[in-house]
């Protein structure tokens, strides 16, 4: 057993209202710099939709992630030989049109325009060229199903559905959408790290945060291809790649990452997970429908004395183990088995988990009334507007049973709480039993979902920065010396 600690995240999609506050918080903090205008380390997508960059899930096009090769795995788009062969011309890179051309407005036109009959307008100008542009796309261009015949229909996940199911999604009375906020998954088996020819990307030993060393990065951009989630971005001004750093300077100071702190729907949870790195080799090449379960098996119970013993042996601080015991992510993912990784079939073992949304059920016209009532609550899961098949394509590599299990639990908690507070429905016991929950567990799920305080949702392990700084001989670093960017300017700037 090789116990490692990983700061892990859970997004509760049932609570997401799609307000993009997380994206704005991240943008203002990290990517409002020159060359980073087009980057959205945090973005919120409407599903079904093409996402950002457009159709990023189509790995036949972008060649991200890993593919199974017998009892092992291989990078789809880079790797030793392929990477070397294409090192001067990586043929699978997204272009700026796949993202969007970032723009701002010439606001001074509003004040400087000569007097005329028309209202002055602020003309959009490109943040790359500085010239006037006609805006053709944006980072959330298909927000709330905007332009859905064009965008939502091109969602790569729809390919898993048959023609009838696809058509159903776009009928007015069945129209449906959900939100999918995305940041870097800080994967256990990151393909961006594996594809970097310069060795500039690394996964931090102490908390598993994946970072790019800006001094070592040579801008080969193999990581941009390597990451199947397209969460590594190339900065055209510095000539280096950048990605979400899970606000590590905030985490090290005991602060909550900006996107999570600002989350209006309080959908975000953060905490430490302990996992067994020895199992990794056996897990990554399993069949697709076993991946989620196997990844869950890698996560260890931080209360198990054997795990604690092994963790201490690996140098994991007691305070981190203690923090892991309180981790809300552990409860959702391991204890309640409600957290699912996004696209596990890319085999990167993402450590950002999602609780899938419980969507409105399908109604029917009944004597001029739009009727959504139904006799048996659980049957409604299969009558949900967004087919379970679609959610399975997102979160379990096609394993519908697993998604259904999570939805059942959520539904059971709902029924249970309704019978507790309103008392107008029967069968709460039945529902809980069928979902495999006890009253106590259902109460816990409800509490952590709906009533959780800031301290419940974010259990940040102490970073013991003082020890790390002392080890590097940097005790005398003063505030303001550290931050994103370059301490030594790169030559090309």
């Amino acid at each position: 057993m090789d116990v490692r600690s990983q700061i892990s995240i859970l997004f509760h999609l049932d609570k997401c209202i799609g307000c993009h506050t997380c994206s704005i918080a991240c943008k203002n903090l990290w990517t409002d710099r020159k060359g980073a205008e087009y980057m959205w380390w945090n973005n919120v997508e409407t599903k079904p939709g093409t996402g950002f960059p457009h159709r990023w899930e189509n790995q036949e096009d972008y060649k991200g992630g890993w593919v199974k090769e017998g009892n092992s795995i291989d990078l789809k788009g880079a790797g030793k030989f392929r990477g070397l062969k294409n090192i001067f011309h990586n043929p699978n890179l997204p272009i700026i049109d796949d993202y969007y051309e970032p723009w701002t407005y010439k606001y001074e036109d509003l004040f400087n325009a000569p007097e005329g009959n028309d209202q002055p307008v602020a003309q959009p100008i490109s943040q790359i060229t500085g010239k006037a542009i006609e805006i053709k796309s944006g980072p959330n261009w298909d927000d709330d199903l905007g332009g859905s015949p064009l965008y939502a229909r091109k969602d790569p996940n729809l390919e898993k559905l048959n023609a009838q199911e696809q058509e159903d999604l776009f009928k007015v009375e069945k129209l449906v959408m959900m939100y999918l906020p995305r940041i870097c998954n800080h994967c256990l088996n990151p393909s961006c790290v594996a594809s970097c020819p310069s060795g500039a990307i690394y996964k931090r030993g102490e908390d598993g945060i994946v970072l790019i060393n800006q001094e070592k990065c040579r801008g080969w951009r193999m990581c941009v291809t390597g990451c199947p989630y397209k969460k590594v971005f190339y900065n055209w001004s510095t000539g280096k790649s950048e990605k979400c750093l899970l606000c590590y300077p905030r985490i090290e100071a005991g602060e909550i990452p900006a996107c999570m702190h600002s989350c209006v729907g309080r959908i975000r949870y953060l905490g430490v997970l302990l996992y067994d790195a020895d199992k990794m080799k056996d897990v990554v090449h399993l069949d697709e429908d076993q991946l989620v379960e196997a990844q869950r098996d890698m996560i260890l119970d931080p209360r198990d004395p054997k795990v604690i013993y092994e963790a201490r042996k690996n140098g994991i601080h007691d305070s981190v183990i203690e923090s892991a015991q309180k981790s809300p992510v552990f409860r959702f993912v391991k204890e309640w088995k409600m957290g699912l990784p996004l696209h596990p079939e890319y085999r990167t073992l993402p450590m950002l988990f999602y609780v899938p949304p419980l969507l409105p059920i399908l109604g029917k016209m009944n004597l001029d009334v739009y009727d959504t009532s139904c006799a048996d609550y659980f049957s409604t899961i299969d009558k949900a507007r967004l087919p379970v098949k679609y959610l399975a394509s997102l979160f379990t590599a096609g394993n519908e049973g697993m998604v259904r299990e999570v939805l059942k639990k959520m539904m059971a908690v709902r029924i249970y709480r309704r019978s507790e507070t309103v008392g107008d429905i029967q069968g709460a016991e039945m529902a809980l039993k069928e979902a495999g929950l006890t009253r106590a567990v259902a109460e816990d799920i409800y509490t952590l979902t709906a009533l959780a305080t800031l301290e419940d949702r974010f259990v940040i392990p102490p970073s013991h920065r003082e020890e790390a700084l002392a080890m590097e001989g940097m005790e005398l670093v003063k505030p303001g010396d550290l931050g994103f960017g370059f301490r030594d300017r790169p030559e090309r700037m």
């Binding site: 960059p53 096009d61 997204p94």
Partner: protein
């Protein structure tokens, strides 16, 4: 060039050595006209001021239209005399040396190219084109010169085309020029790696055979351009083929076409 600069700065200027090094391959003193005119009595024929300038920068004088200079230039098949980086005092010493009759003129020991066998011509061609190395290690002629119909793309174009070198320099002139190479660009290169007598004879033989065949319009420059453009497109084609499965367009859905 460094050696000429050095010599002009040296205090002990040796007129005899300078004449041997810089003049003797084209001029004689009392040995008759060669590539350039016989210099016997030149100090009486010409004004010494004119001589100094001509030795220093003959082409400038010719271009300025000086009648004597132009006449001489035409008489000696328009062979350009290299400019000499010599101070006025040094030129005067040199003129003194010429006036005194100079050193006894060495007669060329090299056989005439007319006696060459086809085998000599072949050897000469090999030496010229570099398929055989010069025995002292000097670079092959082909690196800078071309002559006649030489390979597909001819030789180098840095130095002049030597197709008609034989009739321009005549046999003895060519022997001298090749035995003791004084052209400014070549002098330094061949100073330590001269040609042997046999090599001079063979190259001469080759140049003679080329000259006899007459001028050719090989169009090397056009061929070179054509090959360059062809190579460019072949190269682009190979690149296009190697990366044929690259992403060609954005995956942004557009109203016009399918993506």
């Amino acid at each position: 060039m460094a050696s000429t600069v050095a010599s002009s700065w040296s205090f002990a200027f040796d007129a005899a050595e300078t004449f041997e090094k810089k003049c003797s391959s084209c001029h004689s003193i009392g040995g008759g006209d060669d590539v350039g005119p016989d210099l016997k009595g030149v100090t009486e024929r010409r004004d010494s001021k004119w001589l100094i300038r001509f030795i220093q920068e003959s082409q400038t004088i010719i271009q300025s239209g000086d009648p004597v200079a132009v006449e001489l230039f035409n008489k000696f098949r328009q062979k350009k005399m290299p400019d000499n980086d010599l101070a006025e005092a040094e030129v005067l010493q040199l003129l003194e040396f010429i006036k005194a009759g100079g050193a006894p003129t060495k007669t060329s020991e090299n056989k005439s190219a007319l006696k060459a066998t086809p085998n000599d011509v072949e050897l000469g061609k090999n030496l010229f084109s570099g398929s055989m190395r010069l025995s002292k290690g000097g670079p092959s002629c082909v690196s800078c010169h071309t002559a006649g119909q030489l390979q597909y793309l001819g030789g180098g174009s840095l130095g002049p085309d030597l197709t008609q070198a034989y009739s321009n320099y005549n046999d003895t002139g060519l022997s001298k020029v090749l035995t003791k190479i004084t052209f400014p660009t070549m002098a330094e290169i061949y100073a330590a790696k001269p040609l042997t007598n046999d090599e001079v004879f063979q190259i001469k033989a080759f140049l003679y055979s080329v000259d006899k065949t007459g001028p050719v319009t090989a169009g090397y420059q056009k061929k070179f351009l054509f090959l360059g453009i062809l190579g460019l497109f072949v190269g682009l084609g190979v690149i296009d083929f190697s990366w044929r499965s690259r992403r060609r367009k954005s995956s942004r859905p557009t109203a016009g076409g399918k993506s």
